[in-house]
Amino acid sequence: MDSREKVLDKYSSKIYKNRKEHVIQIEAGEPNVIAADTRAIPGIMTNRGCCYAGCKGVVIGPLKDVVQIVHGPIGCSYYAWGTRRNKGKGDENTKNFLEYCFSTDMQETDIVFGGEKKLKKAIKEAVEIFDPACIMIASTCPVGLIGDDIHAVAAEAEEMYNIKVVSFSCEGYKGVSQSGGHHIANNGLMKNVIGTGNAEHVNYSINLLGEYNIGGDGWEICRVLKRIGYNVVSVMTGDGSYAEIKNAHTADLNLVQCHRSINYIAEMLKTKYGTEWLKVNFIGIEGIKQSLRDVAAFFNDPALTAKTEAVIADEEDEIKEAISEYKAKLEGKTASIYVGGSRTHHYINLLKSLGVEVILAGYEFAHRDDYEGRQVLPLKMDADSKNIESITVEKDPDKYRTFHSEERIQELKDAGLPIESYDGLWADIADNAMITDDYNQFETEEFLKLLKPDIFFSGIKDKYIVQRSGVPSRQLHSYDYSGPYAGFKGALNFARDVTLAVNTPAFNLVQAPWKSEPTLIGNLGGME
């Protein structure tokens, strides 16, 4: 029996039937198909979060100049308070609310008699104390159930205080994972924020989409982009702001980092404002180089292209020697990655460049295209995905602007530029690797025993489980409070951290000496 069968075999027939579609082993040359984005099984310890976690926790959470009021009992707001490491910095013109946690702290009476009154009052108090330019409201499970109309409250407040007030119906029970929340958040930004600014167009302008500035990733990416000469209009949403995002329509090109969380927006921006989008990966040296060259190829300005090559050479030069030292220590190791809905894929080339092969991988909340590539779209809708709001946009006649003609775009696509396209995990994962979608603690433990990777990348809920089995573990959601891991300098940070993890001296101290040495020491027959 192979590893896959060994693990699945321990399931009851009902779970087996469900999980067998989610656990596969990559076969070279085959069209590998996997089930994804389906309901988690009750009682199975999934690592997934909820719709609210995707909306407030991931997408709108990083917007620094927005007072984000979570309408609900206290817990939901509390857990999304400073826990995702989406760094942001205010300045003299930007009020920074990232260190704050706002909630209506609903009580039993609010559940019984409705919470709209309390929400209205909370908005009033927020306006009086902080005078923000924008307020966002995120609703939690009970709000959806009791039917508080947060959208009406938002509309009324917007008018009353003459500020932007945006509401998100992102109740936790919607959809099957946090993925639905990303969708709802992005729709909200599209409907209410993007395109409402009146900034002028600047040459070589870009938006960075699906980048949340975890551990400063976005800052490192923007540093390199700015060095080459690009104008970054907005980042969605790492260190992002309402002030910037409302002008996102003025960009020439959208770069998409985490496509799982934001490909919907990229599509809509193309339809409404004519902006093309390009899939990039700024994690891993090969990925960064390719992405920067793709962006340069899109703009096709010889000066920009030359500067791109000069910056690549310079940045790479700076880290080359140190990277090869780390590589010497990591060569031949194996890894397992289990995170998010794009990140697993993003890290494969970085690990490869350090000589580490990924033998076990999966996503928490991916859809099939994250594994199999964009060509599998459109996917069949099921009851759960139908519950997530879907919006359509139309061409904005005043703001629609194309950088290239359709013919030129086709030429670029034919030349291999990833315009409106992305590969799935299959494109980069090793043959025979084990893939498990939404993998749970049981599978984690079993695969650890069977495949024995040298390092395991996942999140906090697994971290100590893995470490207790003697396998070094690094969190890829929070980078274990290190980073940035994006960009050239980030690759070096990552190599350093992985080397530290696999060489932790304490792993050699796990066994106490009295476990392996005899307690009684004597000699035979009285001889010395």
Binding site: S12, R39, I41, P42, G43, I44, M45, N47, R48, G49, C50, C51, Y52, A53, G72, P73, I74, G75, C76, S77, Y78, Y79, W81, G90, F97, Y100, C101, F102, S103, E108, D110, I111, K121, K124, E125, A126, I129, T140, C141, P142, G144, L145, I146, G172, Y173, K174, V176, Q178, A383, N387, F442, G459, K461, K463, Y464, I465, V466, R468, S469, V510
Partner: protein, 454 residues
Amino acid sequence: MLDVTPKKIAERSALRINPLKTCQPVGAMYAALGVHNCMPHSHGSQGCCSYHRMFLTRHFKDPAIAASSSFTEGASVFGGGSNLKTAIKNIFDLYDPDIIAVHTTCLSETIGDDLVTYITDAKIPEGKIVVHANTPSYVGSHITGFSSMITGLMHYLSQNTGEKNGKLALFPGFVNPGDMREMKKLMTLMGVAYTMLPDTSAVMDSPMTGEYTMYPKGGTTIADIKDLGNCELSLALGEITSTPPAESLESKCKVPFQTLPLPIGIELTDQFIMALNHFSKNEVPYAIEEERGQLVDILLDSHKYSQNKSVAIYGDPDTVLALAQFTLEMGMIPKYLVTGTPGKAFEEKATALFEKYGMEGCTAKGNADLFELHQWIKNDRVDLMIGGTHGKYVAKAEDIPLVRAGFPIVDRYVHSYLPLVGYKGGMRLAEMILNALMDRQDRDCADEDMEMIM
């Protein structure tokens, strides 16, 4: 840091800013982890379970296991009965606990899921147990949830069989495994037979062995929870947290109870030791007397560094009250005491404490938040802050030293292994407080004033 917090204090009645409490289920999950071979289960959407596991794992730096009913929209409309039944079957099949401790969420509470019926109807394997506690997040706080789960466990399991077991039932309060170990040490030294519920020691601070086990050695056993009904007396430590379970044990099994504050500092530990002494009739052994004498000695030696220093203490109600008493024993002024947990008891007890020590100008507030505390500090600062991690932003913004004590502490290591309770815990606290104050003196003084010996 927290730059937009104004000095001017505005009355708020709807907007909670930077809360000092979280929701019931996380407390219930923590209590359930203190039961041997137990799988905590969150009945609701899976985000709650994920957040709670994340949060406990970050505080304890140890795995916090728990399963979820994984509601989607369908379950929210039609009820979570079938999700729970499926979950119970899957959990016993796959993770094989002795007991599943279900707590509800605001989702399942709002739709009115009837847990008693669901559990009665569920297929539970022979010899296995499922219990539940109602823990709506829109009532109380994580402290309430912790109490509710202890009560739930006893409601299902504890029996008065008519035969006393000679034991003391101890409700330790919302404390760390290190505190529970210290309480057990003191009870053993006092020759007291006891059952502690919950007991997260050897679960949330279990040792590294090179092998992961889902259920570590520790936790109160089911047999012991059943036998709680036969205890002679129950002792509830932390009156706000532990009185409700003690009352429920009395009403269900006729076990009389006594309540005491958390045994932090000298006088409150004295009270705990005296209660054990009355219970066991055993003399206090020298080992305990020695520790007490050491702590008093430390406080006398160091008084000049702590005396008249003002301190703001925030966190869970019983922890804050007991810490406040200890700072008073150190001669400090507990200028601001705040907790997020609602209820009048906190303010009443704090006021009584201020009166007892003749403190004027000190303020205590329940159902408060960190934003308000920050505004008070902006208007009239303190020399020291004591509390959990979330206060570090205020401490940095206002340049005030911070001693981490209580829950949650997600930005430091070791804290959950070592006690705050007992005389030993007092020594640890005294060291932390004095180090913070004396480090500050060293950092701020002129070069010529730097002292070698202090």
